[in-house]
Symmetry: D2
């Protein structure tokens, strides 16, 4: 699509949570977007910057009650899992373009959804209309997509690690495993007995020893079955995944490196990180907080046969809000880095 | 009092919280105490070691409902502030010796209590019966005390820092200030918007810029007005206080050191830490986690006139449960270190 | 001065450390600056992005040996304390504008420098030529300053907290104290026995119980004697200062708030944070990492007479590199926020 | 062997490091051991409690130069890897019983040692004389062992997780993988560019993407090839391993649980942790700091075929010094828990 004259008017639906707050931060700083509305049922009428104190002085917006949401060019949904699917038909009337950041429209197969989310989908006929919001795999379709579903944070990291080898036919036969590690912001801002600071601090909590939900997205995207575990680690932001993969016969370190370089050479937000020296030889999330990068690296076993793939990102940015903004940039024909320039900090 | 033949039968009232759990840990390891009962209204019937997972394999106890609490030799109360004062008369019927670890019986003057706790005391006539459970100041009275009130965690640190100079007459005229820093366990185990990991992690939260409640205890104990602030810092356990004090004319570093050495030479749980070299020159709580030590140090301004006093402790041990056990040891004539031998870890 | 056509060519001298790396990050993202050179004696010839891995993919620069440093429009010095004063005459020949981020040119009085830094200044005659790089106090002079000395991180926070009350005549007689808390990046990137992770992690290290060096800067800037202590806390980035000040007769909360509002209403990087509700009522550094904000707040004692002032910033940004870039923006007549738009993250 | 009348005189060789310090802590508190000597080349003559500040007030010992080491009943070696093998013959002359905590005598096959440690062993003929210091597998041989080699921290956790299933014949054909996570104390106390706080803090550092050295120990102990990776995580103490294992046909959750219960029912320091509810359902190291427990848990994939095993311990205690003391208790016929009673803390 061609550029447009005025700014795009956007609303964040469900703006009180962490993904919602990150959307607000990014959209306030985006030169082509006018963030007109941020909704929250619980906080309607309160200042957005009280809940997201990093935005003090940057916005006078207050939260709008969901029922007062009017027409916008774009809706970005950051509601809890399970809400968007029921409300989607009504929301589609309010905007030409809807970007859903919840889990509701990530899986194309209603049966897989039901198996992983414990019940039937509320709008199964809409599932096929959504394009997966991962520009690295679906850029072409995203250019005119008006229903976009942003993948899960750990799924995004794992898919970006696995896709080049799978797509290039370098995976061997055998099991692909995914070991996800995530900071505490991934489970949202609602207080619970498990995420109170004194319990969650310093945790190495294997909360999903088998079959984490993102496993279904990975299998859907990469086309190979994956076995996924997930551990909560001491961090607020950040996701890292370790994937163990069998390599096809004769695939060595050089061939692996060549594939990653080829696939990601022109990607604005994927960096291949597999250095031979230095402290940061493989991807680590801590230097990515706030950035839209996904760093992807690998180590091929010296005796051959398999490789460890490592990917890292900020779960709220490339694993959520930043990825959504990147999709908007693709959708509206803007430079893909627009509003996403922050590179992350070191030290951190 | 003389020793007794059998073990002392003890109950922890309000054993689901952090102070309660620490009491359970210490009493299970105490050779002269039989921990017979741990109460919790919310968790009655559940295993104690599910809530306090460090105790798995060490106890088969389940929580008892408060209304089923029977007679014991000793009750240790770790209930929320405000509950003990209403229930105290009934509890006093159930045991000869009651040790209260809540804030309810720390202040002797009902008017001061009302000013700091926002309402009248429910049993003002009982206030005078309680002895402050701080052996360093009240060992003699504790030997036959049957109502003991354990002071607050930051108050304990500040009092142990200030008492020697105040008692020896080395304080000058002028303002005494107390800057308390505390880990997240100090605010208990109940989840809230403010103590969720993603919000509390890395905090430097000045939650009491003026007149923290422990200020009243410090003034009561030391006899000089103190101005106290408090900050939540990134830690689960641990309290550190910095006290700025004016020194009387001519008081220098050597005189200060001599006073601390004299007061604490024979104390089993106070160490004077004011080193000239090394990494740990002044007290730090991180090496005290789990131990009953309170480290006390000082630095006299080279130009004279004032000193910075520093004290550190584990808020759940010397600032709570450990201090209570030390009081029991004094009360029952046992060796004062009994059951409190763990020295803390390094590195930590 | 008027705007210029082409970009300003800049060099970072001493770019291997943390302040140096932050300068590189900010200048690479600055639309009016061309970062031409980054020097490091130890790492000459190595990629800058190996040392500062957040910058991978953003720059191909390698470190230049100091002796190969040529002429630039601007030099920014991020060398260790003590080096700039000896090298300054030579450096002044290489650029019209020099911004020093080390401690060497912060104090105007050579005697004060000698007292705080343990020896005579190497270029005392140059001290008077430097303008303090704090736009909030010296914006007018900075507009045509070509020798700029950026103040210390904790000094910056304390000065921004104290200046309005001092300048407006609201301070009473009596002692001003400053309690600084700082993350580990403040002591630089050189490994030592004290800053190894296992020792420094979770620290509450009172490394300067009296007379921290920044005390001299605060007194110089604010005109009142201050007594400063400093504690290393668990954080990589971030500084918070607590200042206790006596208030002049009759100064209450409303008067205090009015003064801060007046002084900082138009400041792009100072926010007044003294909220009555919410989790983040007073300034905290964790939500400021990467941003150039200094948040300033206060709490007036309900009984009057004194106030606690609280300020927070990122020691490497508003406490160093970001402040230097803000000074360049002032000096070259650019919009003051240019290149400094990142607001900080929440949660963090 | 039978008990002895007097205490056992012990020396810690290489007592300045973290494992050494932990040995000192445990032996000072051990009722049957007299810790007579602690050596350190670098710190000879300095107080032990300056380096290990948790021990202030508990010992007046100073470090002895290695060349002044005399005869003792037991030597415990906590030297850097590579030193003990060269010095072993001389050390064996100084004591009847030698316990080596370095990596030098862990592998029985000199060829495997050479492959994993990058060079030939200095005393290959002595390798066969050492008994692996893991009571859970070798208790019987340890009862009269005088050369004991304590296994690596992550190896200990992995072996205790894998051994029951392997020994009981419940492992299926296929790959066993081990994913180790470790705190910063595991890499020792020597400062380096990588372990400086600002770099190591918050790390998720895949420092061994393939073939970590402990892999060789695991394979030696369990008898199945294992593929091991290792990640440094944000913690000072603590190790957690995740092992993915194929299960033999028909092995389900109940059979798995039964095996672990059977193997570890009478073990004083292994707890089976695989709960269906609560926050701490699988092993986590943070509640084990300072304790000698190794918690072992498992989750069997609901679709069968494989399981995830999880083990956690304190790398300096059950993964080092505590395990060594447990071996001494076995060797000298003392109660196995002696001196190792501390259960760990919650919250932590």
């Amino acid at each position: 699509m061609t550029g447009r004259a005025g700014p795009v008017r956007a609303a964040v639906v469900g703006g009180a949570g962490y993904i919602g707050g990150e959307l607000v931060r990014l959209l306030l700083g985006h030169p082509r977007v006018e963030l007109a509305t941020v909704t929250s049922r619980r906080l309607a009428g309160r200042r957005v910057s009280t809940t997201h104190p990093n935005l003090r002085g940057l916005t006078e917006l207050t939260f709008t009650a969901p029922e007062d949401l009017g027409r916008h060019d774009v809706l970005l949904l950051a509601t809890e899992h399970g809400l968007a699917m029921g409300a989607m038909r009504g929301l589609l009337d309010l905007a030409d373009t809807v970007v859903d950041l919840s889990a509701d429209f990530r899986l194309r197969d209603p049966a897989v959804f039901a198996a992983y989310y414990g019940g039937p989908h509320a709008a199964p006929d809409l599932l096929a209309e959504f394009v997966t919001g991962l520009p690295e795999l679906h850029r072409k379709r995203l250019r005119d997509a008006d229903r976009i579903s942003v993948p899960g944070c750990m799924a995004t990291a794992a898919i970006l690690a696995l896709h080049p080898l799978a797509d290039a036919g370098l995976l061997g036969a055998g099991e692909v495993t995914v070991d996800g590690r995530t900071g505490s912001s991934g489970s949202g801002s609602a207080p619970s007995a498990a995420n109170v600071h004194a319990e969650r601090s310093g945790a190495l909590r294997v909360f999903a020893p088998t079959a984490h939900r993102h496993q279904a997205e990975i299998t859907q995207a990469v086309g190979v079955p994956a076995r996924m575990t997930a551990t909560g680690v001491e961090a607020v932001r950040g996701v890292q995944v370790l994937c163990r993969v069998p390599l096809a016969d004769g695939v060595d370190e050089a061939a692996t490196r060549a594939v990653y370089r080829r696939y990601y050479r022109d990607e604005p937000f994927v960096r291949v990180v597999a250095a031979r020296r230095g402290t940061y030889r493989l991807p680590e999330p801590k230097i990515l907080a706030g950035s839209n990068f996904c760093d992807v690296g690998f180590a091929v076993d010296p005796h051959g046969g398999w490789a460890l793939l490592v990917a890292a990102l900020d779960n709220l940015v490339k694993g959520g809000a930043g990825n959504a903004v990147q999709c908007l940039n693709v959708r509206f024909g803007w430079p893909e880095r627009l509003g996403l320039e922050f590179p992350g900090l070191h030290p951190a």
